[in-house]
Each structure stands twice: as C-alpha cells, then as structure tokens.
Amino acid sequence: MKIAFSSSGDSLESPFDSRFGRCRKFIIYDDAADSFEVVDNSQNLNAAQGAGIQSAQNVVKAGVAAVVSGHCGPKAFRALSAAGVKVYNCEFRTVKEAVQAFKSGGLKEADSADVEGHW
C-alpha cells in the first residue's frame, strides 16, 4: 500500500515536515515495492485558506491508504476520513525515520484531528 509522508524535500533523507496542509512535498512510499515517488504540494504554501483540504485531495489522488505527518487539523481530517485514509501523527527528524517507524508498526492511528485549524 501507499503511504504519504509530509516532507520539506524530495528524498528519504529530507527533513520530515510536521505540517500536513502546508508541507512542500509528499513522499509517497510504497511498502510492497519499497520505493517512493514525490508529489509536489508547494501550491498550498501560500493558500489563503483550505490548504489542508487541498493537501488531502493531493494525497488521495496519489492513491494513498495512510498519511504520516506531524499534525492534522479538523478540515484535513474530515477530508481524509471521507476518503478512507488513515492518519498517523508523529515527530521525526527525517522522512526515513518516519518510514521506519511506520514499517515497524510503532505509530498509533489518530481517531480525530489533533490541532485546531490554522495552528
């Protein structure tokens, strides 16, 4: 399955971005193939509103089953839930560390938004 990780760059060594709506890139990791692709999310960096909703559409379009990010606001969570995408919140230094934590089953699925909008 495919999992989206919020990232500020386009490699596994890139810093993990704790923001979901306004991260620069998504690393879309495929755990079956142990490979990844990069989805650009930079159009949302300066969005006046609805960045989380747009980001949710981006990762849904990429076909992910889960999102791993630092935090997830209420609108993004509603959008991801509607698409059946699971959300995991965590803090890591690099995307690689987050991928490893996900693969080892060390992350807990979120059952609601963990921050207010525009945190």
């Binding site: 609805g50 960045a51 909703i53 747009q54 559409q57 959008a79 698409a83």
Partner: protein, 281 residues
Amino acid sequence: MKIAVASGKGGTGKTTLSVALSLSAEVPVILLDCDVEEPNCHLFVGIEEDESRDVFVPIPEIDKGKCDNCGRCAQFCQFNAIASLGSSTLVFPELCHSCGGCMKVCPKGAISEKNRLIGRIGSGRRGDLSFASGTLEIGNPMSPPLIKEVLKRAESGRLVIIDSPPGTSCPMVAAVSEADFVILVTEPTPFGLHDLKIAVETVREIRKPHCVVVNRCDSGDDRVERYCAEQKIEIALKIPDDRRVAVAYSRGGTILDAMPEMRAEMRRMLNKISTKLGEMG
C-alpha cells in the same frame, strides 16, 4: 452623506467617535454598527431593539444521488470550499464565498443552494436617531456579507454614520466601501501611527476622501502629527486624554457626558465634512 469611522489599530476610539457624532448631529442620523465581530454601539446609544432579523448566505448542497464525483466543482472553487476525494465530494461551508460557480460547472446538475446562517441584524429608533447593528455568528470567519446587509439600512439623503471594524482587511473595506468620507481615528503611539499609515494607504487605494482624528492626543509623541503634515492629511480633531472619559465609558456613558464641549466640536467636524464634500461635488 455617509461617513465611515475607521482605523487601522483597534481600540483607538471608533465607537466613541461614531456615537458622539451620532448624538451631536443637528439632523436625523442613521448609526450603523458594522463592527459585527464585536458590536458595541448599542451599549452607548440606549436604544431598545424593536426588530431582529437573521442573515443567511447561500452555500452549495450536493445531491449524492446525482453526483458522480467528477471533481469539476472542487477544481473550480478558488476558496477550497469543496473537496473531491475519489468516491466522495465534501463541502466546507465556512470557506464558501457564495459565488454559485460550483452549481454552474456541475455537469450533472447535482448542486443546489441552501441557506447558512451567518449572523443577525438588530435595529431600533429613538427620536431622530435610527440604529442598526450586525452580530456575526460565533465561529463564522467571514463578516463582509453581514456588513453589506447592515449597510443596506442606510437611506439616501440622510446622514449615515458607519462604525467600521478595525484593521484594513476585507471587513474594514466592506464597511467603508459605500462611504462618501472616511474618518480615521488614531492615537499618538508607535502602534497607532504604524496602523494609521496602512489605513491611509487603504483609503487612498479605494479613493475615499478622509481626515484623521487623534484620540488621547496628549498621551504619546508628535509623530502622528508630523506624518499627517507630511502627507497633507487634515487632522480634523484632537481629543485629549482625560480621565473623565474613561470614567463615563466604564458606566456606559459617552464622551459627550464627560466633555460636553465635544458636542460643538462634533458638529463643527460634520459641517466641515459636509462642506468639503459639497465642494467636491
């Protein structure tokens, strides 16, 4: 004649001045409280509301039976108020600007409009003073549609005083948009001056004749006065920093209760603005 009382910085005395102007005028006045996120003119004018009306804006409603999740509505919406998520299409009502575009682009005719409550307007009258005030629903981030509804209570040929919201973003622009003249209230502090400059830029951009009123004029320094002189902006009135005003205010009184001599100053300012607008034609 419509006069909007605005400022950059909050707490400079917009309501104080709006109420004082309204209570001093020698002609019938319509006072419109457009600071809908925290309206407070009613505390000072002592008018019982005799009418209250809910205000709604249209938002899209998607008929799931007709929608095939093609995503065109979400693609069209510049405000990200609709999300197309594969097998479902979601509306985020609080982001919608009620443009109706999603309905037009939907190839299946699956979108209709329903009403969303954004606030209410209360109004009343006492003698020559008519009053209307908007109150935004808590949690609603968008005030301009409600402000525009309050502004509809203005009547042509009457003196209308508009108490604007602070700042210089959409709510302030909406409140001053139909005014013939804007009074910018400031205070002689670094914050007051900083925000006054932004407010001046804003009213210049939308081409509104304006003047400045300096409140608590003896409390800071002379930089606001120097700025106005450089920019050739008239300072129409300076209100001293007087404890009596604060005491009156804390009891729901006006500046006219504390400093009765201000009544003549308010009339003088209204007459001057009227003459100026007359000269401009």
